[in-house]
């Protein structure tokens, strides 16, 4: 495609060249093909996505909606509006760009339906709501392009399922629609092209890979050749990290969980001799607090910001020149994305510093650096689309107008995540959406979907459509309580600092102190959904919530094993790590490339078994449950277990003489079913599918159950369904989620197979070096102030014993 003069002269006026990938995107559009662009940060990715739209509108001006842009973040849509509107204004193009998110006023939304802009920037949730309107068909019929930014943020999630169902709908309304995906770092563009394409047909998608970008400079922090034995968030290095921050213009300090963000922020503040302006940003902070930090950042008022994944996505944070990763990065793609936040100029190297928390994490950091340098990213685990999401979509379609089930089935199957959905499952979803899907037929007169003469299904009432719009979306927040500062009676009077999950709040008592928003807070009282706090002193008493950690990826785990076995790499490692590996090799052995090393040893009156599975924290957690269950049955009196990304350690009164039978992979399904059914995992998963699937009402922001608590809790529904309708669609959906997300069954099964094929059992004379990080975490969570010194002594004894080579 020729660039219209008005655009090429805009480039020329800035002394810019149109880049090859930008031309390739124009070319794909001219050929009428879908396109997937992967480009490093700073490569002009956003402009490349919009350029064909601008070119088309410059050449063929027309009214009506031309391009939809879909972003995972509301804030991003606002940001891109800025970056898009400026070029449009400078080119003097008559193109109207508007945003539509949950925050858009109703009046503007209504106007957008009547007089749509040329380009509409929106989120998947707002798009779905738009499509549920009867007027949507008329508005969308002329849409030519849909641009999905940061596709990697969507692909393997329920939001992705939801989005692809909406695209299938859009494609039906506007058959010549071109789909465009923009992505920073993906391992396998081909499979993403399949995800993006109608009917999962990747041949319809032009894959454009932007070349160039300097290799990132990744550094691993080691001080005096020392790496700690235990811990996993790099807090030991706060002082050194603060010095690096001082020498940078603007640093982002990434941590793996919200709770660690709080701790690290406090540590850094304690070392902040120059009182540099540093901030904290995570998803639990109140939106106002978050926006304040973001604004300070954009205005260049900050020197560093401690952040979780809420900052991961592609916001341009201005002049960031150093990214610091506290703790292991857990995946190469993750590391690369985070490193990409530093320095948005393509030809300059991004700088990243990894601060490993312990020796395993040092190896993991090294492995991640190797992987990034080798260009080996983590593949994404695509999975079949979720049925609760489909149930929501079906009702949304009915809200837009009556449909023929046959036609909707074909449409749904054209969305890649649902390509394999059987007619039987689809009909079950329709049945669920209509009457709740119960074997006990009781709700004929309350059906939500009614069959019209001629066979089309329609929604029973307009009220149901409104109700659907209030409750749609696939993001389900955990039940949260507000953290309110000050003595006001409710959140309206005090200052709301943010939210914590209800079950964390459940541990708190009046007088307890905990870390939040970078401060130690003391609980002064509870009031409905509010926790009232004041400033606390000293160390917080209640340990912070450590959930939400991402497990180390499979590829990275393989690289860590490789590093242990590749002695040529050892000399470049810190002395601490070298010695740790060498003594392990002498007193026990090193884990092989693909075996499962199991060590047993006695310590005090207990017998320990440590399993080096390298299968990630969730899989090891489930392994611990499974193995201790089996030990129980074998009469070995297991007492407990701990899990990390690398290993699972359990202890018992009787020794494990032969670990092999404990790893028998055959009875897995059955045992897990029993355990999962009784565990809170499934209940939590059920709550999510019950909300997404439209069985229970979403708690609206600002509304909290009043004192009477008469609402029906998802736990009660779960119990009733399990008793009476064990095959219910939502139980199946919850089961699928719990298996995949919470317990990582696939990796556990692979681990058991691996153990079955190659288990090496070492009977060690005493605790081994590799076992120390695991043993150090035992009982951590229950430690009070007075026990600290006892623990310290215990740690010292453990290490001395492990490093004994006689």
């Amino acid at each position: 495609m020729e660039l219209p003069n008005i655009i090429s002269s805009w480039f020329a006026a800035r002394g810019w060249q149109v880049r090859a990938h930008q031309l390739a995107m124009l070319d794909a559009a001219a050929k009428g093909r879908h396109a997937l662009l992967t480009a490093p940060t700073g490569a002009g990715k956003t402009l490349a996505g919009f350029l064909p739209t601008l070119a088309d509108l410059a050449t063929n001006p027309a009214e009506g909606l031309h391009t939809l842009y879909i972003s995972p973040l509301k804030a991003l849509a606002v940001d891109v509006q800025r970056n898009l509107i400026t070029p449009i204004a400078e080119m003097g193009l008559n193109i109207r760009v508007e945003t539509r998110t949950g925050d858009t006023p109703a009046a503007r939304k209504a106007r957008q339906k009547e007089v749509p802009p040329h380009i509409l920037l929106t989120t998947p949730e707002s798009l779905a709501n738009l499509l549920s309107n009867p007027e949507a068909a008329a508005m969308m019929v002329g849409v030519k392009r849909v641009i999905i930014d940061e596709v990697h943020a969507f692909g393997t999630t329920k939001r992705g399922d939801h989005l692809m169902l909406c695209l299938a709908r859009l494609q039906r309304l506007a058959p010549s629609l071109q789909r465009v995906g923009l992505s920073a770092t993906i391992a396998d563009p081909e499979s993403w092209a399949g995800w993006l394409a109608p009917d999962a047909d990747s041949t319809q998608v032009e894959i454009v890979v932007a070349q160039g970008g300097a290799d990132p400079a990744i550094d691993i922090l080691v001080i005096d050749d020392r790496i700690p034995w235990g811990g996993h968030n790099g807090r030991w290095a706060a002082r050194a990290v603060m010095r690096r921050i001082e020498s940078a213009r603007l640093a982002i300090v990434f941590v793996n969980t919200r709770a660690v963000a709080e701790l690290v922020f406090r540590d850094l503040w304690a070392e902040n001799d120059q009182s540099l302006p540093i901030g904290i940003h995570h998803g639990s902070l109140a939106p106002e607090a978050r926006r304040k930090v973001e604004a300070a950042m954009a205005a260049g008022k900050l020197r560093a910001i401690v952040a979780t994944a809420s900052l991961d996505l592609g916001l341009d944070w201005g002049d960031v020149d150093l990214v610091i990763q506290m703790g292991a990065p857990k995946g190469a793609s993750r590391l690369l994305q985070r490193t990409g936040r530093a320095n948005h100029r393509m030809d300059e190297a991004s700088r990243c510093l990894i601060v490993p928390g312990n020796r395993f994490e040092y190896l993991e950091a090294l492995a991640a650096r190797d992987a990034v340098q080798a260009g080996e990213l983590d593949p994404d685990g695509f999975r079949p689309g979720a049925l609760d999401v489909l149930a929501q979509h079906v009702v949304g379609c009915a809200a837009a107008g009556p449909f023929f089930p046959d036609e909707l089935y074909d449409e749904v199957k054209s969305a890649a995540p649902y390509a394999g959905v059987t007619r039987e499952s689809f009909d079950a979803v329709l049945g669920y959406a209509a009457t709740g899907g119960y074997a006990l037929k009781a709700y004929e007169r309350y059906q939500r979907l009614v069959t019209q003469p001629g066979g089309r299904l329609r929604l029973r009432s307009a009220a149901l459509a409104r109700q659907w719009r209030m409750n749609s979306g696939t993001i389900v927040e955990a039940v949260a309580m507000n953290v309110v500062f000050g003595s006001g009676k409710s959140s309206r009077h005090g200052r709301k600092l943010g939210q914590v999950e209800e079950y964390f709040a459940g541990q708190l008592r009046v007088g307890d102190s905990f870390m939040f928003a970078g401060q130690t807070l003391e609980v002064t009282g509870f009031d409905g959904a509010d926790i009232h706090v004041r400033m606390g002193r000293g160390s917080p008493k209640v340990p912070v919530y450590a959930g939400g950690r991402m497990p180390m990826t499979t590829r990275l785990a393989a690289r860590v094993r490789g590093l242990m076995n590749d002695r040529a790499r050892w000399p470049a490692m810190p002395e601490d790590v070298r010695e740790w590996l060498a003594i392990q090799d002498r007193v026990s052995r090193l884990p092989g490339e693909d075996d499962v090393l199991v060590e047993t040893f006695q310590r005090d009156d207990r017998w320990y078994m440590v399993v080096y599975g390298f299968a990630g924290h969730p899989a090891h957690q489930t392994l611990g449950m499974l193995i201790t269950q089996r030990m129980e049955r074998a009469g070995l009196n297991p007492l407990g277990f701990v899990a990390s990304d690398y290993a699972m350690a359990c202890w018992s009164l009787e020794p494990v003489d032969d670990p092999r039978p404990l790893f028998d992979p055959t009875v897995l399904e059955d045992e897990l079913a029993q355990w999962l059914a009784a565990s809170p995992f499934l209940r939590r998963a059920f709550r999510e599918v019950a909300i997404i699937g439209g069985l229970i009402e979403r708690v609206q922001p600002g509304v909290h159950k009043s004192g009477k608590a008469m609402s029906v809790s998802s736990d009660l529904i779960y119990d009733v369904l399990r008793r009476h309708e064990p095959d219910h669609l939502l139980l199946t959906a919850a089961w699928t989620d719990a298996r995949g997300k919470l317990t990582d069954i696939a990796r556990l099964a692979a681990l058991l197979e691996q153990a079955h094929a190659g288990l090496s059992h070492v009977r060690a004379a005493h605790v081994t070096p590799l076992a120390v990080p695991s043993l150090l975490t035992i009982g951590r969570e229950r430690v009070g102030d007075s026990a600290d010194s006892a623990l310290l002594l215990e740690a010292e004894a453990l290490i001395a014993e492990a490093m004994r080579v006689d």
């Binding site: 009457t435 004192g707 009660l716």
Partner: protein, 220 residues
């Protein structure tokens, strides 16, 4: 059979199902059945599992059979809303009408259901009295007469070693006994909640039936 405790000089037995058995008067008390709660929501588009009413009726029948009760007192909110009786399934309606005929059946009116249950037979009243005990739906903190009531759905919430345990309980003070909700689909209110504390007018104990045992937890 569960353990007795003494209230206003009478020997009462809290049952694991949530009912209260008074052997001396051969009377069974239940509170907050909330029949047809699920269909109330279903009419609004929330298609909750339709089994709760049948479950609750089955539990009632079992409790009557195991105690041999002659009289049954429902302490209000027997239906989730006034139109509830119309939505009963034929089976549930038949079972309830059989019981109201064969027992001395009292419906105390609640704030959800008024006198809706009258169509099923039995006596309907705003307050009742048996021996020294006054029976009403919602506790009256100003009345010093020993009283049985419902309304609050008390539950005991315990946080122990980071675990969150919640169980239906009887809320007990020197002159008041509040029954847990009997309905299969009813949530609960923490017994430590100020609203419950105010209603109980005195030192509060939570009584939890655990198998054969009656556990007592002082509250506050």
């Amino acid at each position: 059979m569960s353990v007795s405790f003494s209230f206003a000089g009478e020997s009462l037995q809290p049952l694991a199902c949530g009912a209260l058995w008074w052997p001396g008067e051969s009377t069974l008390f239940v509170a907050d059945l909330h029949f047809e709660k699920a269909s109330h929501y279903a009419a609004k588009g929330w298609l909750l599992p339709p089994h709760a009413t049948a479950d609750t009726v089955a539990n009632l029948i079992a409790a009557v059979e195991s105690t041999g009760a002659q009289r049954l007192v429902c302490l209000g909110d027997s239906f989730h809303d006034e139109a509830g009786p119309e939505r009963l399934s034929d089976e549930a309606r038949r079972a309830l009408m059989t019981m109201t005929r064969s027992l001395d059946w009292w419906w105390i009116t609640g704030n959800h259901d008024e006198d809706a249950a009258a169509v099923l037979g039995g006596r309907v009243m705003v307050e009742g009295r048996i021996g020294p005990l006054v029976l009403r739906h919602e506790a009256d903190p100003a009345d010093p007469t020993p009283e049985l009531s419902g309304h609050f759905h008390p539950k005991l919430v315990i946080r122990h070693r980071g675990r969150h345990i919640a169980r239906r309980c009887f809320a007990h003070s020197p002159t008041k006994l509040i029954l847990p909700a009997y309905g299969a689909f009813t949530g609960g209110l923490d017994i430590a909640d100020p609203a419950l504390q105010a209603a109980l007018a005195g030192p509060v104990t939570a009584l939890v039936v655990d198998g054969e045992r009656l556990l007592r937890f002082p509250v506050g």
